[in-house]
Every structure is written in structure tokens, then in C-alpha cells.
Symmetry: C2
Subunit: 497 residues, 2 copies
């Protein structure tokens, strides 16, 4: 895309200005339709240092109502200072329905630059390319219009521009060491950009703009943007088709086949609890120090004992190093974005433990059953969730998922107890009773979820919880074992280096 790029011919300035004016007016007219159609738009602008990305954005936004757009320039932190997954800065920045986000350098620049700097290995780079493809497809399938532009200038042009910038006292500070390094390494960068673009062109194509013709680049960008908006508005909101990548799945039993009889006596319970909590506290120290992120997911039947389980887990942890994230129904500003956004924004920093009390699996349970999303949406979600969780474990996170399981009789007994105990009455609502009536439907959904999303990297554990004591000890044991293994692997890898 870049090697065979030929500069555009010069065009008549007057004509260009007229074209730009007309396109801007078109965009101005579209902004309202975009809002009404609740179409979210991301314009990613990548390109060379000094190619004029900032000026291009300036021209693109100049006539848009500020209520409809925002501009972000995600910083590229040194890898060792990154406390979140690679895609975090981009996934948390996505716009809400009806708004346009302009991103001044994004996931491409970050991936390419870090690889050229050897801040990440070649393997890690490849994983990031895969993640980018997943991310872009998920956005598209979630109804986002994503326009990817690359602003291109050749080496000579870059030389002239950098020289002009450094020549003036007022602008010289804008040229960074990084820019000069890119200029010296122009060919390596060109190859790297090229290869990144080729690897990420299939789902959402790249558009290379000639940065040496500033006005023409503005015209071309506006023309692409307005044309794609037209197309998107005419086609109606895009909803992606489900498809399965082959994730290595663990075999899971059906809920109906789970033996719920295991129990523990008080004495064993107390002894084990103390021992395991003590060990967990030690492990938390190490996890914190070695900056390993830990994500523990809890789902389960109402009154199965999620809360009690979580409290026993949380008690030995240093409150400065963990968070419990209770997930309620989404708020309006959350509903207005791709559904994983509200989980991206709740991820822990590396070294922290995050316990999700209900999770992104709501998509394939309550949202599926109550019709809060379309059939395509929840069918697509299995794969999207597997990808999301792989992105987390790629980052180095320990991801464990617990289904807290009881049978219907036990639930009834606990509901009745809650109903009859004044201090517990707040825990039981009409909705709980309504959900209970849908037990059979939920069971189908949960079985499907467990079968399709228990991956090697992010496994599900069905916790038998008719006996709460047994359940708590089993959960603690699984967490302790997983953290021990993660630390062992971590230290083994450190030794290799």
C-alpha cells in the first residue's frame, strides 16, 4: 500500500476549496441523521510524524457541532508502565451511539512502534495484530462505522517538514526524539506500517491519503467519511452474524448431571477456611508485587450464595489491592455503547484482583431470555466473549469463572427463609420469583454458555452450593491453586529471560 504509492497530481486550489465546502455542508447535514439513527462512528487517523494528522482532524471537525464529536490522542506509554491490556485505551474510548470519535494515532501506531523499539516480542506483536482484528470486527458487528485512514508522506517530504518545524523556535519543541528516530528508520517504519495494514485490512479496509497534498487529503477524507455515512444510514444499523472461532474448549457437564450432595462439617470448614484464607493473603502479596492481574467472575442462581462466597474470598485480601465490581443492569450511557464497554472500563490494574459479581455473561443469560438484545447479538457474544477473555489472558491475567450452583428445592428453601426473616427481606424481590419461574429456560442458556465459553485460558467452574460451606472452600481452593500456578509460570518465565 505504501511502497507503490504515487503522489497525486496537483489539483486546482479553487476547485478543491469548493469541493471541500460542499462536503462539509454534507457532513453538517448528516450529523443530525447520524444522531437520529444512533450511529456511532470512529475515524482512526494513523500516519507519519509531521504528516499533518492534527491539521487534518482540525479541518474535518471544523463544521461539526461539538455535541456530536470528540477527539482523542491516546498516549503510548512505555510497555513497563502499561497497567492495562493493550486495547484498553481504545476500547474505553469508543463513542456512544450517534457520536463521532476522531482518534489521532491509535492501535496501529502503538503496536508498530513498540515492536520496532523491541519493547514487545514478535509473538506479542502478532497477538496484538490478532486482537486488533477482533476488536475492529466486534465494533463493526456492534453497529459501529469505523473508518481507518493512513496519512502518507515520503521520506523527503518528512525531512522537509521536520526541518521546517525544528527551524522555528515556536514549533521546534513539537518535534520529539521519537519523530527523529522514525525519520532515520523511515524504511523500517514503512515496512512495518505496510505489514500491519496488510494484516488488518480484511475486515475493515485501510485508506491511504496523500499527506503531501493537504487540501486534497482533506477532500478525500471528507469524501470517504460522508460516503460511508450515507451507506451506513441507507443500510440501517449493521448487526454482525455469529461465527465461531475454534477456541480450545473444556468439556463441561450439564447442570442437571452435577451431584449437589457434597458437604462439609463445621470443624473442617473452619480449619480449611483459615488455612486457605491465610494462603490467599500471602499469594495476594506476591500477585501485587509481580503485577499479575486477576479477574474472578461470579455467576449463579439467585440465592445460590455468590455474595457469601465473594466475602470469604475478599476477607483476607488487602483492600488496597482488590475491588469487587457488582454488575447491575446497564445505565443509559452504557447501553449507548458496545456491550463490553462497561466491562473494559471496570478492568483492574495489573497486580490487582477484581471480583465481578455478575459479569458480561448477562448477554447470553438475562439479555438473551428477556429479549434485551437481538438473537444475532447474543449468538455472536459467545465468540466475542471468548476473544475478550483471551485478550485478558494474553495480557497476563488470571481469569477464573464460577457458576454457583444449587437445585430448585434449595432455592425455594432459601427464598422462603429470606421472606420470613426481617433482616433478609431486602435480599428477595419479585424479580427473583419471576426468574425462578424461568428456571428451565435459564438452565438451557447456562448449559449452552458453559459448553461454549469454558476455555483453557479462562475456565468455568461449577461450584456445588447446596452446602454453602463446601462451596466456599471449593472456590477458595480453586483460586489458591490457580494463583500458585500463575506465579510459578511467571517466575519460570522470568528465569528464562
Amino acid at each position: 500500500m505504501l511502497k507503490d504509492f504515487t503522489k497525486r497530481k496537483a489539483e486546482d486550489k479553487g476547485e478543491l476549496s469548493a469541493e471541500i465546502k460542499a462536503l462539509r455542508e454534507k457532513l453538517m447535514g448528516q450529523q443530525q441523521l447520524v444522531r437520529d439513527a444512533k450511529l456511532p462512528i470512529i475515524v482512526l487517523i494513523e500516519g507519519w510524524a509531521a504528516a499533518g494528522k492534527g491539521s487534518l482532524i482540525k479541518e474535518l471537525i471544523s463544521e461539526i457541532d461539538p455535541r456530536f464529536y470528540s477527539v482523542v490522542s491516546p498516549a503510548i506509554l512505555p510497555e513497563r508502565e502499561c497497567r492495562y491490556p493493550f486495547l484498553y485505551p481504545y476500547a474505553t474510548a469508543i463513542p456512544e451511539n450517534g457520536k463521532i470519535l476522531f482518534m489521532d494515532s491509535g492501535w496501529m501506531e502503538a503496536a508498530v512502534r513498540k515492536e520496532l523499539h523491541r519493547e514487545i516480542t514478535r509473538d506479542e506483536y502478532k497477538r496484538r495484530v490478532r486482537q486488533v482484528n477482533e476488536f475492529e470486527r466486534q465494533l463493526r458487528d456492534g453497529g459501529y462505522l469505523v473508518l481507518k485512514l493512513f496519512l502518507h508522506i515520503d521520506r523527503d517530504e518528512q525531512f522537509e517538514r521536520l526541518q521546517a518545524l525544528t527551524g522555528s523556535a515556536e514549533t521546534s519543541w513539537r518535534v520529539t526524539e521519537e519523530d527523529l528516530w522514525q525519520h532515520r528508520e523511515y524504511k523500517r517504519f514503512r515496512d512495518a506500517y505496510e505489514s500491519f495494514m496488510e494484516a488488518t485490512d480484511a475486515t475493515l479496509p485501510w485508506h491511504v491519503l496523500d499527506g503531501s497534498r493537504r487540501k486534497a487529503a482533506v477532500r478525500d477524507a471528507l469524501s470517504l467519511l460522508t460516503a460511508q455515512i450515507d451507506r451506513a444510514l441507507a443500510a440501517g444499523r449493521y448487526v454482525g452474524e455469529p461465527f465461531d472461532e475454534n477456541f480450545p474448549l473444556l468439556e463441561m457437564p450439564k447442570l442437571a448431571d452435577v451431584d449437589l450432595s457434597p458437604s462439609l462439617d463445621d470443624d473442617t470448614y473452619r480449619k480449611e477456611l483459615k488455612k486457605l484464607q491465610g494462603r490467599l493473603s500471602e499469594l495476594h502479596n506476591l500477585i501485587y508485587r509481580e503485577k499479575i492481574p486477576v479477574i474472578l467472575c461470579f455467576e449463579g442462581w439467585d440465592a445460590a450464595g455468590k455474595g457469601g462466597n465473594i466475602r470469604r474470598l475478599a476477607y483476607p485480601l488487602d483492600p488496597r489491592g482488590f475491588d469487587v465490581r457488582p454488575i447491575a443492569s446497564p445505565e443509559p450511557h452504557e447501553l449507548a455503547r458496545q456491550y463490553l464497554w462497561r466491562f473494559w472500563t471496570r478492568l483492574p490494574r495489573s497486580g490487582h484482583i477484581c471480583i465481578f459479581d455478575r459479569t458480561w455473561y448477562g448477554r447470553v443469560m438475562v439479555e438473551r431470555l428477556e429479549g434485551f438484545c437481538t438473537e444475532l447479538d447474543w449468538k455472536r457474544a459467545y465468540n466475542e466473549i471468548n476473544e475478550f477473555e483471551r485478550q485478558l489472558t494474553d495480557w497476563g491475567a488470571v481469569v477464573l469463572k464460577f457458576w454457583i450452583h444449587i437445585d430448585q428445592d434449595t432455592q425455594l428453601a432459601r427464598f422462603t427463609d429470606r421472606q420470613n426473616t426481617p433482616e433478609k427481606q431486602w435480599k428477595i424481590t419479585d424479580e427473583d420469583w419471576r426468574n425462578r419461574e424461568k428456571w428451565a429456560q435459564y438452565e438451557v442458556a447456562v448449559d449452552e454458555m458453559l459448553a461454549r465459553t469454558s476455555t483453557e485460558n479462562a475456565p468455568w467452574f461449577i461450584i456445588e452450593s447446596n452446602d454453602k460451606k463446601y462451596a466456599r472452600i471449593r472456590t477458595l481452593r480453586i483460586v489458591v491453586k490457580a494463583l500458585e500456578e500463575a506465579l510459578e509460570n511467571h517466575f519460570a518465565r522470568s528465569m528464562e529471560r
Copy 2:
């Protein structure tokens, strides 16, 4: 508070455990009432290094449902890395109604430590103490229960604990240079804590807990917390009384007395626009480089031309260094917090320009007139807003506020034009017509707002906008002049150092 502190007598362990158990059960019962009463609670836990703040929090939260609380430990960044106002980490972390926030070291530790490190001057320290008092009072007046605890240990106790921690390989990394420095400088720290507490005790009192008696400290903290919750629940939501601090106010004309006739011819407009935009672009570079934050606030009549004004301002700016924040009606998660929270979370980083399209002044205009807040709330807001803006200018921000002004005839003409022009119809809503009927009421509110909140540090400018061209040039001129002055002062101060 600290010098004359005497250690508590040892108490019977069994009795203490029983007390703690009873208090925890009480707290468990209260959490539901807190939620129903929508009472937001902040428990600030300050204290010595190694005093056991983390363990105390652990004990406090152990029985609370994770949906009702969160824990934060705001980092104390080196002053030169702080890109936000002093109170930013705390003001953005406040909990929503019905939830409890535990803060592990907060504004006191940050202010005291920075002063002892001489990262801030004595004057700046005093300003921060004043800001803390303002912040705490605003929280209280907004219905927050704020409990301030200080966990105290004497120098010998600290010595023993630090030694125990450094003695074990597993815990030694937890002791920082900073902790050891505090220990060496114990007396200076004690005096500084003491003086901070004395200076911030009047509105919300401090409670010193004996950290050397761990169990007793837990009991005391639980007992204070549950007692204060009881009191708050019994009293009903606290609503603060308005009062006026004497801010140096600029005299403002009544809107009715403003001469709206000034206008500009096309030629002058275009020439001036070009000149001023060019200058603004240069100034933006300097502002960015010198890390001066700029906050421009726009309010005005519907159809007065806020949007056009903002676009002319924004056009010459580098989109990577400014943001326009359109302010719509608050979302549920915003309504559930003190009303300034949604503006705190939208502040620019230092060096950035932030343009607010509508602002926190909604409180004393639409919220006042439509009854979206109580009379005490909006009457209190003048002073709260003056304090908030002084906190911004203390930080070094340039704060300018524009009232875009037209008369009723001009508004009618523009409304009619919008109604009759298909591309403009989206800009006019039934609400605009309804607001227009309340012109007289709004005029009273706006006059009062201008009279009471045009401070020397954050002045209002009434922009005559019957002629849009005149209005745009006038706004640009004011901004250019203010930025020039701010840069001059900034460089003058740098020279002094």
C-alpha cells in the same frame, strides 16, 4: 490532638470481639437503610505509615455487601506530574447516593506530605487547607456523611512495626523510602498532622483512633460509623444553608441595560477573524508547552450563537490540545452525586483548553427555574461555584465565562428562520419555545447569577450577539488578551524563581 494522646488501656479480647460482632451486625442492617435513604457516605482514613489503615478497612468492610461500598487509595503523584487540581482525585472519587466509600489516605496525607517535602510552598499549602474546608463543607451540604478518622501510633510503636515488616522477606517490599523518611521525621510529621487537623476540624471533626490497640480501633471505628449513620438516617438528608463568603466581585450591568447595537461589517470581520485566529493558534502552542489549563465557559439564550462562537474559537486550535464539552441534562449516575461531580470529571489536563458548552451554572438557571433542585440548593450554589472556580484558578487555570446575549426580537427571528429552513429544523425544539416564554424569569436568574459570580479570578463577559460577527470577534479578543496576560504572568513568575 496527637501530642496529648494517651494510649488506651488494654481491654478484654473476648468482650471486644463480641462488641465488634454486634456492631458489624448493626452495620449490616444499616446498609439497606442507607441505600433506601440514598445516603452517600465517605469514610476517610488517614494515619501513620504502618499504623494499620489497610487492616482497619478490611475489618470495616468484611460484612458489607460489595454492592454497597468501594475502597480507593488515591496515589500521591510528585507535584510536577500532577496535571489536575489538588482536589481532583478526591472530588472525582466521591460515591453515589446510598453507597459507602472508604478512602485509604486522602487529601490530608497529600497536603501534609507535599509541604514537608517542600514540593509546594507554604502559601500553596494554606490554599489547599482552605480548599479542603470548602470541599468538605460542600459534601456535607450536599447531603454526604463524611467520617474522618486518624489512626495514630507513637514513634516507638512505628519503629517496631516497620522493623517487623522489613525483617520478613515477604513484607519488606511494603516499606517504602517514604515510610522510613516519615519515621525519621516523626516529630515534624506529628506537628504537621496536628496542625492540619486543627485547621480542618471545625466543619467536620476528626476522630483519632489508637492504632496500637487494633481491636479497639476497629470497635471504635465501627461504633463511630454506625452511630453517625443512625443520626443521619434519623435526621433525614442534610441540606446546607446558603451563606456568602466575600468574593471580590466585578460589577456587572443588568441584561436590560446592555446595548445590543454593536455590529461589524464583513470586511473587518474577516480580517479580524483571521488575525485573531492566527494569534490564538500561536498562544495555544505556548499554553500547551507551559502546561497552563484553560477553561472557557459558554452560556446564553437559545439561538444566541453559542455554537458559532465556539466553532470560531476552536477552529485554530490543535485538536489534540483542546476539548469541547457539551453539557446536556445529567444522567442518572450523575444525578446520584454532588452536582459539581460531573464537571470535576470533565476538567481538562493542564496545558489543554476546555470549552464548556453550557456549564455548572445550570444549577442557578434551569435547575432553579424548573425546580430540579431545592431553593436552598441553588441559593447555596453561588458560593459553591465561586469556591470551585477559585480552586481552578488556584491551580493555575485561566477561567473565562461568556454570556452570549441577544434580545427577544432577535431570538424570535432566528427561531422562525430555523423553523423555516429544513437543514436547521433539528436545532429548534418545543423546549426552546417553552423556555422563550419564561424569558422574564430567566432574565432575573441570569442577572442574579452575573451579579453574584463574576469574580476577579473568573470573570463573566456579556457578549452582545444581535450581530453574530461582532460577537465572535469580541469573544476571540477577550480570549486572546486573557491568554497573553496569563502567559506574561506565568513567565514573570518563572523568572522570579
